[in-house]
Symmetry: C2
Subunit: 270 residues, 2 copies
């Protein structure tokens, strides 16, 4: 059968993926959730019509949102992920031997439930004894959190449940929840299609963090294929450490080169 899933990435750009099977579809208290098997990218999680992760390209996003900040921290022990209910970021974080606790703060229990059932390759680490899952509002949770070495904002787009994760007050709460040399990273959308969101996140993060950097990675199922991450650090960033496990996207050279921005992106955040 010739069935396609189509994401309206903007009002005028769409990405279509051929689908072999729709496995799950529900309205949760927070959003519309679906799991589909696609022909080109394997199994896929969709929230409110937007592709969150696919088996074939999830490695890019999950490696780049975790290893870039983790290798810049001298000894990350306590890490939190706000959002990211599929568990992919937690899986990568727990590959770092210094990490003692990895907390997942996901508002929508159904995302974790569906990921555990349909995407075990991505969610498996949520059962690790160092992983702690909290089904609560990330904005409230972070106000009580303290002494984290790294906090990752692995959010959906800034509409619906994730709207409050893109405001300066939230980044200030993250700052307060971090230890002395703590680092934060937030996914900040595409420089080609959502330049205003990058500007908003960079401005917001720089209001609290003395060091703010943008970096990029190539993710084919996300709008435009080029994705940005905004990093905030309390201290000057040192030389990144290497890692002792295999990766599929990250390399020591990618760690350096992901901060090299095309001129139009430099101009965007100047």
């Amino acid at each position: 059968m010739n069935t396609w899933f189509t994401e309206l990435q903007t009002q005028a750009v769409s990405l279509g993926l051929k689908v072999s099977r729709v496995l799950w579809h529900e309205q949760t208290p927070y959003q519309e959730l679906a799991v589909l098997d696609t022909v080109p990218f394997g199994r896929m999680l969709v929230l409110d019509g937007a592709i969150q992760t696919t088996i074939q390209d999830e490695f890019v996003y999950h490696e780049m949102i975790t290893h870039v900040p983790l290798t810049l921290h001298p000894q990350p022990r306590k890490v939190a992920v706000i959002g990211g209910g599929d568990g992919g970021a937690i899986r990568e974080i727990l590959k770092h031997p210094s990490v003692e606790e990895a907390h997942l703060i996901e508002i929508d229990e159904k995302v974790v439930e569906a990921s555990k059932r349909f995407l075990p390759e991505i969610s498996e680490a949520l059962d690790d004894e160092r992983a702690h899952v909290h089904f609560t509002d990330g904005i409230r949770w972070v106000q009580e959190a303290r002494d984290f070495d790294l906090i990752i904002v692995d959010s959906t787009d800034p509409v619906g449940p994730a709207e409050g994760l893109f405001v300066p007050e939230f980044y200030r709460s993250i700052y307060d929840a971090l230890s002395e040399n703590g680092i934060m990273v937030a996914q900040s959308e595409s420089p080609f299609l959502q330049p205003h969101i990058i500007q908003r996140v960079m401005t917001g993060v720089s209001q609290s963090f003395p060091v703010t950097r943008l970096y990029l990675a190539a993710i084919p199922t996300y709008p435009s294929g080029l994705w940005s991450f905004t990093l905030g650090s309390k201290e000057t960033l040192g030389t990144p450490r290497s890692v002792s496990f295999p990766t599929r996207y990250w390399t020591p050279e990618i760690q350096r080169s992901c901060f090299a921005l095309p001129r139009f992106v430099e101009d965007l955040i100047r």
Copy 2:
């Protein structure tokens, strides 16, 4: 009116762009040619259903296929582009003051005609006195060519008229057409969606050139958004020069970092 152009990037992946106007549509002796105004990326040239260039993102491809090799050559004087009838590569090449001649070898006169008529921002440099346009078969042309400092293969996908531009014999002819420290670059498709083409081009180029390197750039309207270029050089590559004109994608840091490959791409060409 809700009109969309859809490119089947593979049999299972499609990119859709909202269209405001279809300006031109013809069957040339070589291919189907269309020019459309799109809402997200402005005016667009399409050949055999595949997006070739758009006003909004053409700068990435044209800067990266030209400035990366040009800044690696000590003094490029004589340059050729095989394919690339829109003229965008010639426009960027002629920004380098050392260049005395820029030859365009395009098999399909209709591509140049449509680009001059509908895409003057891209094709304007074809009227420069240093530009020489040859409407002929690139494979045959290159067999007679000599003493070029740089030859760029700015081809369509390896189906139809461009098939012969992806074989080792063609790269050998390019080698013979280059001066002693000459360089070639060929567009070599997406590491996510056409990995076998990258392998084919890298293998083919390395049969003639002692130095072969792959580099990447983010192009939103090309399949997966991540595009590769294969560079062959007769001599060891030195430190790149800088440029004296404004750019929108290329920077000295991008020049270095575009050669940093994600692990899965490194594995692909090992």
